[in-house]
Symmetry: C2
DNA sequence: AGGAAGTTCAAACGATCGTTTGAGCATACG
DNA sequence: CGTATGCTCAAACGATCGTTTGAACTTCCT
């Protein structure tokens, strides 16, 4: 299980896998360091504590994910011809691409777990560091759905993001039929999610 | 925190609260028995183990919830004039009523947690004991949405149930405006969820 | 009243947890 | 060459976990 990468990277990789499988409490530092092929004390040496390691696991993936989402959103935001589909693509596609990397699909499970756990510390960390992304998407949704008042819009966004988070956390388990390529498969999933989200956001 | 009810009931009540707040691993039997006002050994005496206690927490609420759902479904199932709204009401309303009982809203959080945790033991327990409910609802959805092939239908049901579970797990936190009654408030939420679910299931 | 069955209690069990320690190893710089 | 500096290691720390034990206490039946 060891093999490649620096000690920090091997710890982060193993942490992602074990956090997804057994949760933050359920995965012990002894299982984690054994899987990573590093010494037990390495976690506290490199990260300071288990909690800091959890935050670093989030930071590593979410920095890339949110940068990708915001970049895609910037391309369509505010323009005249922009559709709901465009904005939802900017939200969904980066997560889908992440899900098809090495352990990226496992990270979506970790994210869904953090969503379901109403742990205040973790929620505050996520809100402080990445809340601005959701705020930008919400602003764009508001522009494209002017017929909805704010409470109604927030309701729908909450329901849609809940459904998408849940769906993406299961991507590791979906097995595509062997006759369709990886790319086609991903495209089909994206279309499912986008059409569903459009319906949920824009129904009369 | 003790006061009323038998020892078993006090343990189940405290377990529901603490499992929702800190998760199954995070809530210790010592916190739990202290909150219930019973002796530490009482859990193992009455339930056999912590894991059996977890199952009993689910069983107590899900037995009632699913019975209520199936009863409501039976009233509209198979009939000629039945609409998607009718079936979704049968699914959503019992959970909503549960959410407005004493600790019922906390149980929906526990359920959402179990959903997000991909723990095999717990998933198998839920599937074996309550899978038939989901199967009956799926059959009725299939009857009302004949234009959808099976994979498409399963996709949409999965997305809708994910959104509903997520939404219902947050009911404890929604504060209704003081000028609307409890009943009106519940009705508004039900309408939100049903309209959203109809859109997600039946979009072209 | 007296014994049987059911329940509660304080105390302890071994296991495992996150964290800390201090010695040992490596690499690089003067 | 010597000595810093950064990192790894085995070992131990105290705390907390789920579970077990055996005695004490209740409740109820004959």
């Amino acid at each position: 299980m060891n093999s490649s990468g620096s000690t920090k990277e091997r710890i982060l990789g193993a942490a992602e896998v074990l956090f997804a499988q057994r949760g933050f409490d359920g995965a012990s530092l002894r299982q984690l360091t054994a899987a990573a092929g590093v010494n037990l004390a390495a976690v506290n040496y490199h990260f300071g504590s288990k909690e800091k390691l959890v935050e670093e696991v989030f930071r590593r993936r979410l920095d890339a994910l949110n940068a990708s989402r915001l970049k895609a959103l910037a391309k369509v935001s505010g323009a005249a011809g922009t559709t709901l589909e465009d904005v939802l693509e900017a939200y969904i596609r980066p997560a889908l691409e992440l899900s098809h990397d090495d352990n990226g699909s496992l990270f979506m499970r970790v994210l869904a777990r953090a969503f379901a756990e109403h742990d205040d510390t973790l929620r505050q960390f996520l809100s402080e560091n990445y809340g601005h992304v959701m705020r930008q998407f919400t602003a764009e949704f508001a522009r494209l759905l002017p017929q909805l008042d704010k409470p109604e819009l927030y309701w729908r966004i909450d329901l849609v993001t809940g459904a998408l988070t849940h769906a993406m956390s299961g991507f590791g388990m979906i097995q595509r039929k062997s006759e369709v390529s990886e790319q086609v498969h991903r495209e089909q999933i994206a279309q499912h999610l986008i059409r569903f989200a459009v319906a949920g956001l824009s129904h009369p």
